[in-house]
Amino acid sequence: MDWDLVLGIARFVVATTLLLLLTIPTAFIIIQMELKVIALMQLRYGPNRVGPKGMFQSTIHGFKVLAKEDVTPDLVDRPTFTLAPWMVFMAAAMSMLVIPFAPGLVAFESSISVVYFFAILGLSVVGLLVAGWASYNKYSLLGGLRSAAQMVSYEIPLTLSIVGVVVLTGSLSFTQIIEWQLQHGWAVIWQLVGFPIFFIAATAEINRTPFDMVEADSEIVAGFATEYSGMRFGFFFFAEYVSLFIMSAITVTLFFGGWLAPWPFPAQLEGFIGTLYGLFWFFLKTYLFVFVAVWMRATLPRVRVDQLMGLAWKVLLPVALLNLLVTGVAVVVFNLSGVQ
Amino acid sequence: MDDLRRPGSPASRLGRRRALTAPAVAGALVRALTDRFPELAGTLWTDEDTVEVQIDGARSVEVLSRLRDDPELHFWYLADAAAADYGVGEHFEVVYHLYSDLHPAWLRVRARVDRSSPHLPSITGLWEGAMFHEREMFDMMGIIFDGNRDLRRIYMSPDYRSFPQRRDFLLPDDAADSSAAGVNPLERPETWDLSRFSEEVAHSIDPILPLGTSAMAPGPEAAEIEADETDADKSRPR
């Protein structure tokens, strides 16, 4: 018997389970953060009754949603209506597999993890589109169509902006990209144009303010989730915040050195302490970006659909291509590539 | 209209030097009106800031368009259009209030409408914005404006049959204390399950109920349970 294979499968199963379990506290923490931070920005207290300083409010919300009646309206397309939230949530959860949290702490080590990540992340648009179509509700339909148009458009600048990093580092593996950054400094220094494109496109990709017209309250009630209740709505709700975490994590990994500390000595430690040290910096940086997203939500109004698409095709795409060209030329001319 | 655009125009300064109390201020307007409408001179009436003129309903479009387009009158703004009912056997009155920069007073035009055939030409050709006024008058008073292309009910639902603003439409004196308590006659019998409000009404309606009413034939068990709930609040849905 090939014990390596068995061990590999066992490791994969354990890691997947752990990551799926990790999504739950992650979503709770981010929801709590959003409740509290937006409240403070709006000169309110925010939740302060459940637990010390209201710390468990988001958990309570989550369990409440779990205990609600799960209504399936009469005229919906039942199989797809049931499937859609599951697809959205699994797309988010599965893309967590390749995120390197700390040295050696990655569930699925692959040399093409970047490709895997963006392939899986693209699946969630299918879930949203299906949810919008299956709900038999015009608001849902409009929300689903908007999400499809938006996410398909923003995939392109999103992917093009990271190709700059890939060309620079010469690798499609997140772990190797971080190791390259250990040698050369954070990629954001080399990709001053690529990072803003990535950040804007990522915000649009996960439907956060100011690009949240998929579930625009004031226009199309709750968008694709209008007819969803109970835990099926909970899956959408969770997936939104898990995606936010994932996008922040990928931003950190690609541009801000992943688990590396912001100073070179010691940017990275060995052994178990090193893992903790890496985890600390990784989560700190990730939650910093989550905070930025929450901040934007409290501040900015929403852009319109045509402005959103115009931004993607008329601004981000040409700039991303230009960035790619400049990066490629620079890599060849100055021989910067990680491929030695 | 161009002089309105300039904030410093005489039109916009007019208000500042005007004293309200003297009816004589309306003198220029009264003179202009008697010049142009000598047949209406007998109906002219003024108070401290209003000049009133009465016309026949059939003439309303003609008179109002002359009031609007005459350069010396220039009543460009339709401030209000309302209807009044003077009771059964009397007449309706449609009242237009107009505003002009050239004259300090409101102009009130009272158009008399026959109550037995309440027809009046629509003034939506003069002011588009009269549309909602006329729809409201149609809804509340039942006055029909000929030439209005959107004369449907605006407040009450399309299947409503009465005209609430008429004088012969009486409010229930105190509905909650009357014997009709619990049944508001307008609570849409065709959509509501009346058995929820009153048992008698439920027994009198047709046995074939439209969809959505609780026609679930109660079995003997249910009837038993119903029986000892005579004191339950029937006004609430179960």
């Binding site: 409240a39 709006q42 000169l43 309110r44 207290y45 925010g46 939740p47 302060n48 009754r49 459940v50 209201g54 409010q57 309570i60 919300h61 409440k64 949603v65 205990a67 609600k68 009646e69 799960d70 209504v71 009469d74 309250d217 009630v221 709750a222 989730a225 209008t226 007819e227 969803y228 109970g230 709505f233 | 407040y155 639902s157 299947d159 609430p164 439409f169 409010l171 229930p172 004196d173 105190d174 909650a176 619990g182 307008l186 609570e187 849409r188 065709e190 959509t191 509501w192 969809l211 959505g212 609780s214 679930m216 079995g219 068990e221 249910a222 349970i225 709930e229 006004s235 849905p237 179960r238």
Partner: protein, 255 residues
């Protein structure tokens, strides 16, 4: 929850004279209503076919129900031993308690205002009077995700249909708060030809908040009262089987 044994009452806890009428749950009417706590088995000798098993274990009865009248209130008059048996059933009852605690602390109101009171309802959600403190999340736009319908403002006959429809679209468990005198009784528009004289004519109401309009503090007080109701499972809390047939079409529908 009170613990008692058959035929023996705990005088300290249960004084029938002190029963709060508001604590009585609505009687169970529908055939086939399932009491979530009752363990039922078939008994061929019985007319009603379903009776509880015989045990001599302590009986745990929700809301301090004692005496025949109270048992009847719970629809348990056929179950002389009540609905709960054995020690292990403490766990489900405690689970219910926990669930109620969770529900009470996470009441999402529906973003639905009818008239004047809606402004005070919004005011209660804003910085000066922040109901987010109590877990009343910023208002949900879709009725499918809401827990509380705050009827804020005069209900007219034209709006009654859509409002009942919203109520029916909300998933169980759900609660209704009537805010303002117009919704409790018609208020100053009671005599009007187009006003529903109290929203409780068309849907069940758990908490009435008087005032025209009530101050935001009044609404918050009402919602805190609702939290108490939720914790004690009083009010109009029903299970989904009690809904009755749903309307499918309304006048003026544009779907």
């Amino acid at each position: 929850m009170a613990v008692t044994t058959p035929g023996k009452q705990d005088p300290g806890k249960q004084d029938p004279g002190k029963q709060d009428p508001g604590k009585q749950r609505p009687a169970l009417k529908e055939p086939g209503h399932k009491d979530p706590g009752a363990i039922l088995t078939r008994d061929s000798g019985s007319e009603r076919a379903l009776v509880p098993t015989e045990t001599s274990a302590p009986i745990i009865i929700p809301d301090q129900a004692t005496g025949d009248a109270l048992l009847r209130e719970f629809g348990m008059e056929e179950h002389p031993k009540g609905g709960f048996h054995g020690l292990l059933e403490v766990i489900p009852t405690r689970a219910d308690w926990l669930l109620d605690l969770i529900r009470a602390n996470s009441l999402w109101p529906l973003l639905s205002g009818l008239s004047c009171c809606a402004i005070e309802m919004m005011s209660s959600a804003t910085s000066m009077n922040d109901i987010d403190r109590f877990g009343m999340f910023p208002f949900r736009a879709s009725p499918r995700q809401a827990d509380v319908l705050i009827v804020a403002g005069t209900l007219t006959t034209k709006m009654a249909g859509p409002l009942v429809r919203l109520w029916e679209q909300m998933p169980e468990p759900k609660w209704c708060v009537a805010m303002g005198t117009c919704t409790t009784s018609g208020g100053r528009f009671k005599r009007s030809y187009s006003v529903v004289q109290g929203v409780d004519r068309v849907m069940p109401v758990d908490v009435y908040v008087p005032g025209c309009p009530p101050r935001p503090e009044g609404l918050i007080y009402g919602l805190l009262k609702l939290q108490e109701l939720v914790k004690q499972r009083r009010g109009q809390w029903t299970t989904y089987v009690d809904r009755g047939p749903q309307r499918l079409a309304w006048e003026g529908d544009v779907r």
